[in-house]
Symmetry: C2
Subunit: 119 residues, 2 copies
DNA sequence: GGTTGACCTGGAGCCCGCTCCAGGTGAGAT
DNA sequence: ATCTCACCTGGAGCGGGCTCCAGGTCAACC
């Protein structure tokens, strides 16, 4: 399989069709190919790129930053160092999120224990 | 110190003054005391409760859920089991968030490695 | 006794990230 | 032939969570 209908792309990526169109509109996704009737046909590459977007999105990267990343990717191989920097910075933020969640979770656990002690 | 001016409450809780007013307006925070001039004076208890809200908020609990929790707290001690259930459910969600972030982070790491291999 | 400056209220506005809608096209099933 | 259905486009609308604004009141320092 090397080409995906809109419905298949939805299935594959977990994004809604509206979101896929939106991402294309704002330039997160490069102009997707169309068939004769003007309907989108997503390539394997599109699907792969959407997987990357999904990962960045789900780790809390704002769309504006994803857009910068998309532009770096489009600009060619000489931007690889910049992409590494961007991802490393994001990685630090993800790390911070995890640490923060774990700390807050401690608070929640203590609260639960306290409530249990009231019973 | 047993009473806080708005500025001190902002300092202490990390919420903006507008947010504190908003939380009071929607009932997340019970009607805060006022001085003769009508200015808020936050009690130690208010500050403690705001700490709890901060924790729930920062772990991604929607305001609607925090509101349910606030109502349970106000309803009295007989709701302690419900509060425990609510916090345990939230705890599971926090756990899931952490697991999810950790997994996505693996993807990001692999991507960074791949980019490094291109240099 | 005038000027800051911190605060008040009600209500409008904003940003993000979608999501929905109207009106239309073309392909395939009955 | 007609119906259904997946899709198209441009643009409006939405929900969450604040954030800002106008117009006003005190209090406190110079």
């Amino acid at each position: 399989m090397s080409v995906y209908t809109p419905a298949e792309a939805v299935e594959e990526t977990g994004f809604s069709l509206d979101t896929l169109r939106y991402y294309e509109k704002i330039g997160l996704l490069e102009r997707v190919d169309r068939n004769a009737a003007g309907q989108r046909r997503f390539s394997e590459e599109d699907i792969g790129w959407l997987g990357m977007l999904r990962c960045l999105r789900d780790t809390g990267m704002p769309i504006a930053t994803m857009l910068r990343f998309a532009e770096l990717v489009r600009a060619g191989d000489h931007t690889v160092p910049d992409r590494i920097r961007l991802l490393e910075e994001h990685d630090r933020q993800v790390q911070a999120q995890i640490a923060n969640l774990a700390e807050r979770q401690g608070y929640i656990h203590r609260k639960i224990s306290y409530y249990r002690s009231m019973l």
